[in-house]
Symmetry: C2
Subunit: 601 residues, 2 copies
């Protein structure tokens, strides 16, 4: 005999007149007119259980139960009395008249109400098990599962094979910091937890598996920001013998299907495609939020000789940039809001926020309201107005500094205004899902501090056809076959066509000033594998945590992970990390360093 015949939340009028056994938790208990009503909850939802005083044992048991008691109820499904239905519940038309109430487990009083929406993160993570009982968390983790399963079904149907790659792997101190695992058997040596299965998936392509995927944990020991975790989950894919275009088509199809089959949302088909240079030019970002209808106007070329030193200085600076950003209808923006934005852009390093309010173009300079316009000569002013297409009632903000500062500050301002009340009420924000491919990334960026070229993606990314020689002659002009999928200002995933020829791979290492010896030591196995007829291949990786966070409308990726770490990389539930026995350390051939003095003499 089964403990349970149906889920609480799925007990509907189809079962009228039947005897059912339900298991779940006391969500709420009410005494009403001498009858006890229990809202019994399981993962599918609530059902109303009625305990009548004329069944003495049932009533006696019902009197003892409290919130979060775990019960088994056997009873009769009957219609609710006229007018007492609950349209919010699937079970809202029926109730269960209890014939038997079995207390499977009692509960002490929970430290908080499950429907309290104002819990601190510390409380929630400390009592994670109760926190996970909350409907929002139940929904988030079930959505996460559905997303992952839809991904698997899509990839399976397209011939991709899930192949597990090692968790105990080799430390290659490039990029982020590794988590290390001391080896007991090999004294003095360490494994690293993988930052990504990048090289293994490339090896699998060389090994003729043709299409690979894995939904797998990756690890980076970085100081945590709001949307980062020490361990995170990647949908990792790689394929042989497909062009960049084919790879992008395949995976935008996957994301489109996932959105359709989980949230019933139709993403555009095809996704728009934008070159990196255009994205940086118009939005100051390689992951622009396309819901925001604001863009940059390039002004660097016309500001070189204006009297306003902030503009002319930036325009003449190495890596300097001057842009305007037209805000339609912005002339009505109160001074206080402009001041707030000035403070906001300062976070990104901007030293001020110049603006022009366009009150009445017909009046010429007199129709413009601005602290800076007097120091801008006519030719430049004409260009500003023409290029931005400003009309009466508009506002133009300006950024002028190193290009990076301008892009970061005005890019952030763009999003800020778009999402503001002002932006929403002035039609500057289109509240839909706006996916986008950003392509044609540069291969290298110049690391000013160390005066050397660094890989924008990773050193296994292929250059565009015909760009191989630029790696030596003009690395800054060399474009990569790299692509990012962007959604509403978040990078969902990214990837590239990889280098499949050992000689090209060696050229990249040389461009990055990685010596042959060093390359051999760290990546010898890859260079070796490329020699045996490695196929053209490429792929990409999506961040599952981030995709689900967006889809769930959650505030933090911690809300879509069952047992996340805090920003101090701690698990408050199990109290990890923790000190270990000296014996364990000895077996691993390590010892703790003595605590270093807080201040060195």
């Amino acid at each position: 005999m089964s403990m349970r015949t149906h889920y609480c939340g799925l007990t509907t009028e189809e079962l009228l007149g039947q005897t059912v056994s339900l298991c779940g938790w006391v969500h709420r208990r009410r005494d009403h007119g001498g009858v006890i009503f229990i809202d019994l909850r399981d993962r599918e939802g609530l059902v109303q259980v009625v305990c009548d005083p004329d069944r003495a044992d049932v009533f006696a048991a019902a009197e003892t139960v409290r919130n979060e008691y775990c019960l088994r109820i056997t009873g009769l499904v009957r219609a609710r009395p006229e007018g007492t239905g609950n349209a919010n519940l699937k079970s809202g038309k029926i109730e269960v008249l209890a014939h038997q109430v079995e207390i499977l487990n009692a509960s002490v009083t929970p430290p908080f109400q499950l429907d309290d929406d104002n819990l601190s993160e510390t409380t929630r993570l400390t009592h994670r098990v109760l926190d996970l009982r909350r409907p929002q968390m139940q929904n988030n983790l079930r959505l996460r599962y559905k997303v992952a399963m839809e991904v698997r079904k899509f990839l399976d149907a397209n011939g991709f094979i899930d192949i597990e790659t090692p968790m105990l792997t080799k430390s290659t101190p490039e990029g982020a910091r590794d988590y290390l695992v001391p080896s007991r058997v090999n004294a003095g040596e360490f494994f690293a937890l993988p930052q990504s299965p990048q090289l293994f998936k490339q090896l699998l392509m060389v090994a003729n598996f043709d299409r690979y995927y894995q939904i797998t944990k990756c690890f980076r020991d970085e100081d945590l920001r709001a949307d980062r975790q020490p361990e995170f989950t990647q949908i990792d894919c790689e394929t042989s013998f497909m062009s960049e275009q084919e790879i992008r088509d395949m995976f935008e199809g996957m994301i489109r299907l996932v959105f359709k089959n989980t949230l019933n949302i139709d993403l555009p088909d095809p996704f728009p495609v934008m070159e990196y240079a255009e994205a940086m030019g118009l939005y100051g970002s390689d992951k622009p939020d396309m819901r925001v209808k604001l863009k940059f106007t390039e002004l660097t070329d016309v500001m070189k000789d204006v009297d306003f030193k902030v503009f002319s200085g930036a325009a003449n600076m190495h890596n300097g940039r001057v842009v305007g950003m037209l805000v339609p209808g912005g002339a009505n923006m109160p001074r206080s809001e402009i001041d707030a934005y000035t403070q906001f852009v300062a976070i990104y390093g901007a030293k001020g926020l110049a603006y022009i309010k366009v009150n009445e173009l017909a009046k010429g300079r007199d129709g413009l309201q601005s602290p800076i316009v007097k120091n801008i000569h006519d030719a430049a002013l004409t260009q500003i107005l023409e290029r931005t297409g400003a009309k009466d009632g508009d506002l133009i903000f300006f950024g002028a500094d190193k290009a990076k500062v301008v892009n970061d500050a005005i890019g952030a301002l763009r999003v800020k205004i778009g999402h503001s009340e002002f932006g929403k009420s002035n039609g500057l924000f289109d509240d839909v899902w706006k996916p986008l491919w950003v392509i044609d990334f540069p291969m290298f960026e110049h690391d000013e501090e160390n005066d050397r070229w660094a890989a924008v993606h990773h050193p296994f990314t292929a250059p565009k056809d015909g760009h191989e020689d630029l790696m030596e002659t003009d690395p800054g002009k060399c474009i990569a076959k790299a692509y990012d999928m962007v959604l509403n200002g978040w990078e969902l995933g990214g990837g590239s066509v990889r280098i499949h020829r050992a000689d090209v791979q060696s050229k990249v290492f040389r461009a990055l000033k990685i010596s042959d010896d060093d390359a051999k030591l760290k990546f010898g196995f890859l260079l070796d594998a490329l020699q045996y007829g490695a196929p053209p291949h490429g792929g990409l990786a999506f961040g599952l945590d981030r995709i689900v966070t967006m889809m769930a409308g959650a505030e933090s990726i911690r809300d879509v992970i069952a047992f996340p770490k805090t920003q101090r990389a701690q698990d408050l539930l199990t109290h990890a990390p923790s000190p270990v026995d000296e014996k364990q350390l000895r077996e691993l051939h390590i010892r703790l360093r003595a605590a270093e003095p807080a201040i060195k003499a």
Copy 2:
């Protein structure tokens, strides 16, 4: 335009007359009558490509290619000439007349032939990428994927949800040795990699997820035996509100489906069920190979007063045991084979291997051939012959020692004889898949060395109903709600109903002499969670590596893992583990111990 229109191995007569583009590797090149034939290989198999000398550029390219070159071929699918078909290939009726041969990548000469079946494991693991190109390895990893995907589909259809549990978790030094991960942020503290998600999956049941699964990596830092890896993959499942019987039914259904949908094998329905006590009694093993038609006969009770000291000594010993094992038709077994078995059982600690050949029962003692029979009195001899049911021409082997030695030695002998030529030709081996549930395991086993009780499964296993008090009064008699799924002598998986009440859990900790303080420190989060109306729950875990190894008929689990470690826990391909930079250690607040002298004074 696509690089590839079809897979080589799937290019069949359905494409006759069509132009196709194929990508793959040169498996073999033959010059025959002035024409070059290339067997082109991709993951789906081989296709024959014909390069005619009347197409000069095609022929010139074909002349330069060598084994393992990666090619793109465009050409016409045409029927092979009469009598030259290859029935072993899906593409065996056709060939592709090359119009274009593009060398995508050259290959240096491989260090071995891909069809060489006598490669050392070191060679194979060092050149793993080429090793993985071998059809057997391709098939093994694709079978592994199919098994995992069938498991996912089954569990999805049954309402199980994949929920990821942490990889960076808390060290609880029980059972096997943990892999540790030093924390950078929390100086002097360590994470542990999970040995299993056991406690997290129980927490998920308390958190109302109802049905959970995960196919996940687990870690044990043990000295490796042939069938172990530092990291291994578990199909981990847990469910609430189901009885032991329901759980077993669910998961034998899963395994039955997996065998049917991957290998088209029908496993019995239902699986036989055997109590632990019976398994040990009849086969000396809790995972008996049921293909072998041999079993033990209990003789301990009748050997207490025989003159043969080996038997009477064992029969009167604390934890001693005497068994016979009838081998039908064994009287013809040559002396040399018996001697070989005597050496074999010595591996398991047996000091000898007594036997009786039953030549002719009608002759009484004269019809028995045995070195020991003269020291066995009539009553005991009668029991031996009656209980074993010996007939003329049979042989009886005996084991007499501590029960553990008898079980191990005669249990191993049973399998050895069953699998031998003798066993196979005498009908003692049934070459089919023989699954089995072993149930009713004891809760505790006595740890003689430390004179204390230890958990047979793990300390979260529930006792049988009514056995709770035995934990205090007679722990050895306490039976657990634990079950193992066994197939052909291998444990495929195992699990139990868990303890869902905090008071029962505390009793187990007390029985195991884990102090309240210690329990709280290590498992406080579990005890805490159990207080909030934890539901009845249970589950099990399967070893994916092992299941696939069996199904593939592979020799080692290393043959079903893409990038395994050696027995010294090393990755010969990437050279992990490896030394790391001093800077990395300093950031992790650890240092290496000085090498200890090889021999201490």
